[in-house]
Amino acid sequence: MANAKSTNALSIEGINKVFGRPGKPTVEALRNIDLTIKEGEFVSIVGASGSGKSTLLRIIDGLLPATSGVVKVSGAPVTKPGSDRAMVFQQDALLPWKSVRDNVAYGLVIGGTPKRDAHATAMRFIEMAGLKGFEHHYPHQLSGGMRQRVNVARALAVNPRILLLDEPFAALDAQTREIMQSELLNIWQKSKTTVLLITHQIDEAVYLSDRVVVFSARPGQVREEIPIPLPRPRDLEVKRHEAFGALVDKIWHLIEHEVRSAVADNRA
């Protein structure tokens, strides 16, 4: 809900991505993606699996080159990963040999922050993630929900301007997911980072976002952008609003067809 004259934190201009390896059929993952996200905005992308959502996030993060098109962060083209963006991966990506504290401090230490300062910052984010007392635990000693909170804390600790979240709560049970959603909203409201979230949970997208971008099935294209004019700050109550249900329905109808064709595609 940034003010109107704010700059674009992220602009995605004409991104195409075709995967090709010698001797294998090419896969067109993304076609002509145009999308702009304002400073401090919370945007979600929903779409059938295989519609190139993760691929787009990797391109934005600078992990993967686009076949054509550019991604600009605050006007500057992205060529490689940078400290202005941080990513939470679809899979658990904690280093199993590092403690919670060292995992959260990891991005800072890699970026050259002295260990002591990095640890102090890490402790702040561990506390924020509700993991105080677990800083010396190792990932294998934590539950899935706790591990995912560490993943989010690690991304937040580098103080990114843009937070990229790839289905961060997909593997969690419904209750833990709701708690994590509220926590994410809290954190976002406090830090005012720009967030781009991928999810296949439509209600999650509506609950959290200022705008929901619906992707079409492969090749991924922007099918429609739906503004979510629900009042903020939001709590779980908002899910019982009539408007909430209407938005979820609308997006579901948009996506239903795509999901069906994706399923048919995968069967073929």
Binding site: P81, P96, I110
Partner: protein, 261 residues
Amino acid sequence: MRSFMDFIEGPTRTASLARFMLCAICVLGLWQVLATYVVTNRLLLVPPMDVARALRTEGVSGALWTNALATVSAVAAAFPIAVVLGVGIGLALASSRFLALTVGPMLTALNSVPVVALAPLFIAWLGLGFASKFVIVTIFSIFPILVTTEVGLKATDKILVEASRSFNASRWQIFTTVTLPFALPFVISGIRVAWARALVAIIVAEFFGSFAGFGFAILAAGQSFDTATLLAYVIVLGVLGLVGSIFFEWLERRLAPWRHE
């Protein structure tokens, strides 16, 4: 009885020690019974007490220590070299496609040759004694280390590398903070296998030709039908193997606790 079973199957250190002691006592008891009532030909089998006595005699006469010095010094010199070379070659194979495609298959072929069979050749080249033992032990124990190093480095979780790249880590940072720690437990399990092979190699080397060492002593005892002394040295070797194995297993657990839960 029930609570005893619970204890003995438990995960504690005392329980694992108790399991080991229990097993050792059973074996010794069986051995004693076998030697007393079944195999009474003392050329074929001697009771444990005789073996202990032979070990003591060797210790008192000083032969045990001379042989231990010869064997242990050769292994102690060769094994670290094998570790360094093995890890180095494994690293090179994992980081260069060209090397993996050219040198890799050659090493695989070499590995399937029973290198110990070449021992007489090395002895002909390098003479009896330290140099030939050193080379045989190094070559024979290097393979498991280089193989596990290469496998461990290549097995690194892609997503962990990507997470590290996402923080703009340099290639060197990725190597030191992700690839290497991931490979370490693999390398150590390779070293554990290599330790057992090093002991085989040293004995074979000493069988083929040497003036001192456990292999030499075993051969000499065998030729003079001194079964008690022969078994005494075998037991010393067994202990050496066991201690190494327990140590490396412990190290592996320490360095990679997440792989054991």
